[in-house]
Assembly symmetry: C3
Homo-oligomer: 268 residues x 3
Amino acid sequence: MHATEIWTNVEAIRARNPLVHNITNYVVMNNTANALLALGASPVMAHAEEEMEALADLTRLVGGALVINIGTLSRAWIDAMATAMRAAVARGIPVVLDPVGAGATAYRTQACRDLLAAARPAVIRGNASEIMALWKDGVTTKGVDSAHGTEAAAEAARELASRHACVVCVSGATDFITDGGHEARVHNGVPMMTRVTGLGCTASALTGAFLAVQPSALPAATHAMAVMGICGEVAAERAAGPGTLQTHFLDALYNLDRETIETRLRCS
Amino acid sequence: MHATEIWTNVEAIRARNPLVHNITNYVVMNNTANALLALGASPVMAHAEEEMEALADLTRLVGGALVINIGTLSRAWIDAMATAMRAAVARGIPVVLDPVGAGATAYRTQACRDLLAAARPAVIRGNASEIMALWKDGVTTKGVDSAHGTEAAAEAARELASRHACVVCVSGATDFITDGGHEARVHNGVPMMTRVTGLGCTASALTGAFLAVQPSALPAATHAMAVMGICGEVAAERAAGPGTLQTHFLDALYNLDRETIETRLRCS
Amino acid sequence: MHATEIWTNVEAIRARNPLVHNITNYVVMNNTANALLALGASPVMAHAEEEMEALADLTRLVGGALVINIGTLSRAWIDAMATAMRAAVARGIPVVLDPVGAGATAYRTQACRDLLAAARPAVIRGNASEIMALWKDGVTTKGVDSAHGTEAAAEAARELASRHACVVCVSGATDFITDGGHEARVHNGVPMMTRVTGLGCTASALTGAFLAVQPSALPAATHAMAVMGICGEVAAERAAGPGTLQTHFLDALYNLDRETIETRLRCS
């Protein structure tokens, strides 16, 4: 992966302001919207089943993506998520699925499987435990934080990607992105990012923004993870803890330039 | 408009801590509450239909306002909003309506019209696209971000204000406030404010705080927009991006003094 | 109370990362999760009744607590709260109840009483008005901000603690913690903390984290309030207003060390 491609996509997001429709959890809605705005996208948060078709029409019209995040799920929201995913896929709108807490409860794992049966996402992004839980039963997790390292989930990610003909992105100290055949690893980022809630959810949202300007899902997901990690590093240099990290992270997204990407990018 | 009047109202909010009851969207609840607290008001976020009458009684008792924001609407919330608006108007409590995303979907536009039929707000505050969508059918918008400039919406705002016998506030690079006859424009603010989610929602909430101490809706809405813009400018001088802008904006609201208003106010 | 005990518990939280399951309000979810992460705990926000038993099993397995906060309550959420409380108590998991706005509406007061009838919390934490409203009818409050000082609520707190065989924590300029017999007062903190939304809710969440490593509820609640107040003081020294206070507060939790506790602790 070349820094130039990432920069081209960042510029495209800033020029086109793609509409990213999020059905996401209550915890991170504010930060997700702010991260999308800071990057240059136009976020919409809406979950009423009655307007899912109309929002898909609008997304199709102006260009964008759909991001589904099951964090604070309940029955009515899962129904709206399924409707929104079907409406998006029917219109060729790329979909990102973030299976927050899959494996923590059977209810969550089943909700993800129902959503995957409803429509095919372009990208599934989760931590190692979540990806392993979607891959097969019997994997335990610890709440919404991962109990496993990225490499432990690599085989699970490859098989899950092949099974659903999509890209799977496992975020962690090293991010692993695969379509079942090709794969990429992003080494950017800092450990303190795990002490800010919802940066994984932000990664999923930014993946939606990149998919809106870059139809190929493997580079789109990889570019999103690289931008996350790079901006996390920039923010960490100015931060005294996770509170200021979050604030500086948004500033870093807003100020991201070609040179920063070229200097910091660590992919393989 | 004189800076002195704005300052008098800011002092009144700080002295009386008016209760501002918000039924607002999940994305901005935290920021809205923080902005109201920073200004000196006492925010309450509650949406259960069962307690809307009791909260209206409490608001009437201690003094305050109701702010309705349809951002992440669903059926049950719209019902509670209508109940709360009727309860407020019946008790003489001023109401602000923020029609987030009106025009983006027919569901949203219709929800706003239903709320306007339920009870008359003192102020409707939205961006140009939202105000134009409420004014007449066939206006397109782009998600929750405006696709139109303020001046394009001036005539729509005047007619909408006359139709509903209320004040309409169109926020943008220049804010335009009208009761259908008289009007005001606020030129304060900085472009980076559009890259922080929910500052429009914050403007609606602050309008509620000003209405609680200033019964005349045209100056109340104008003062709120002036304070938003002025504090945005103060914050921008210390901010390195939208993350720190948000943080410094709350500090600026908290530290707002007479001199800052007098020096910076740009109204016409 | 010795600073050493507090520090031992902070170290235990950082070492064990207890799972703190929160069913809390929309306004504070993000800040609550961030505060728990900054302290070293592992927050989960989930409210679907279908997964309450499974989450209780998980909490029991890895160690943790349940925190119930009625801030933006509605019927379905109260039902889930009751189910979660029963599931927790049945497994020996400590429960914290935060009766936000009790007394502001009869609906809220009754919801708290129903929850108290469902299962016994280890700690009830509220402001003076809320604790007095739970204690007996006829106490008025002002929205979610307290209309009474801590000492006015001391007798109410003692009786409420005895009635429910739990610890009651009244937060305010001075925090008062009692089990009906023994009691403690924490004098740390700064007035500006009342201008940041949800720091009371954060106190309840941190109480859950301390309960997870310290089974005795009186010291656990006291330690949580001391850490809140101390970190608030550290943050206030760097803050220019409530916006930066919130950010620096999270940093202070993350950087809290033994010396800071020893130097600043003011208990009686």
